[in-house]
Symmetry: C2
Amino acid sequence: MADRDAPKTVNWGRETVAKIERQVARQPRGDATRRSILDAAEQVFADLGYAAARLEDVALSVGIRRPSIVYYFPNKQQLYDEVESGIFTAMHQFVMERMQGAVDPLDRLLALLDAWLDFLVARPTAARIIQRLIADLGPRGDNPVKFSETALRDIETVVDAGVKAGTFHPVSAMHILNGVAAGALFYVCNAGQLGTDRSYDPADPEGLKQFRTLLHTLARAAVLAG
Amino acid sequence: MADRDAPKTVNWGRETVAKIERQVARQPRGDATRRSILDAAEQVFADLGYAAARLEDVALSVGIRRPSIVYYFPNKQQLYDEVESGIFTAMHQFVMERMQGAVDPLDRLLALLDAWLDFLVARPTAARIIQRLIADLGPRGDNPVKFSETALRDIETVVDAGVKAGTFHPVSAMHILNGVAAGALFYVCNAGQLGTDRSYDPADPEGLKQFRTLLHTLARAAVLAG
DNA sequence: TAATATCTACCTTCACGTAGGTAGATTATC
DNA sequence: GATAATCTACCTACGTGAAGGTAGATATTA
């Protein structure tokens, strides 16, 4: 037992060091593969969820063998964590860019909602991963960053400012998140859920425009009325 | 090979017949166990999702051994299917009861939303299972009934009637589902998602009342305005 | 020729499904 | 109303396959 654990620990140590070094100075070819793995993984995790997702599928989709994934990501959990945090940061950054320039609280809120909607429509895999995330009880693995927390912070800065300025009726950011922002997620996730006759393409300009208008109406009603 | 398959088939045949008979006239003790298994399974499936859920956990929670579950449910999938369809029918029935008496389209819509909210608050495991369901692409297993389809039908009867009567602005039931009804689900699922400081109890009367008011406001805005 | 990148082959674990057994309750038979 | 036959509601033990992880060999590129 002990003589089998010992070399393992040493190997792990070496491997970890090697990987950390690689993260600092990586070669272009490997970098592209790494990105491909992340993209493929996002698709698979979105389709099946963490537990049902198989690394085999990810590898197949990239066009490599499964153990090659381990070369870039020590294990399934860390691959998932990186997919997830990649989504968070991309979404947050996208929101920040979209809110640039808007100063009026309502304009800022609508810009925020538009940004979410557009982001999720353009990246439906992200929508489904977030959807699953919200069904979970706590954070997955050792990744302490939760989506709703990040999202709530973004919305809070906007809503609280509006309330403080007197433009908005006193309303909690949490309620806006649950009542209004949730709609953007559902709009994307539900697209294929209805029977084939009722299915719709969330990216279809006409439908998207309609739903955006509704979201705006809801947002206005939420912050301007009681 | 053949001499081993033959008795197996016969045994399966007998067992299947016995199970069908049992469904007609089941013993009280077994009935209680069956219910316990369904309840425990709903909890586990809600917490972990289908793939990560282990029958071992379900059995442990009931206080029996895993193979005893197979005595009542032929396999994991069918156990899940029964949990899921149980939720659908209970929710649908609850909605129908709550809408009894209401005749005005808006009253009926608000009663529907209230019913959803109350049902999900009282049964958060159902909320999380539905939440996961919506993240999936198609239906799970061979169960062709999808939640969103059932839910949409309920909402369609109400919304379409209101539109036809001229009480409602022309609006698609799907948009009401995505924009407004989604809020009830999020309200329940998001309760434990925010940091410990921001977590809330969805069943807390004060918070629930506030959120219900918001939902009503949103519903009104959606169907009365554009 | 050294590092980077990818492979083949193997090990281990884990969870489902299946076979077969048994104590106690229930029903049939004398 | 005793006893034999059967059924119910569990159990233990095992087989099996799938998936993740690991070791070490091999190809590629600078």
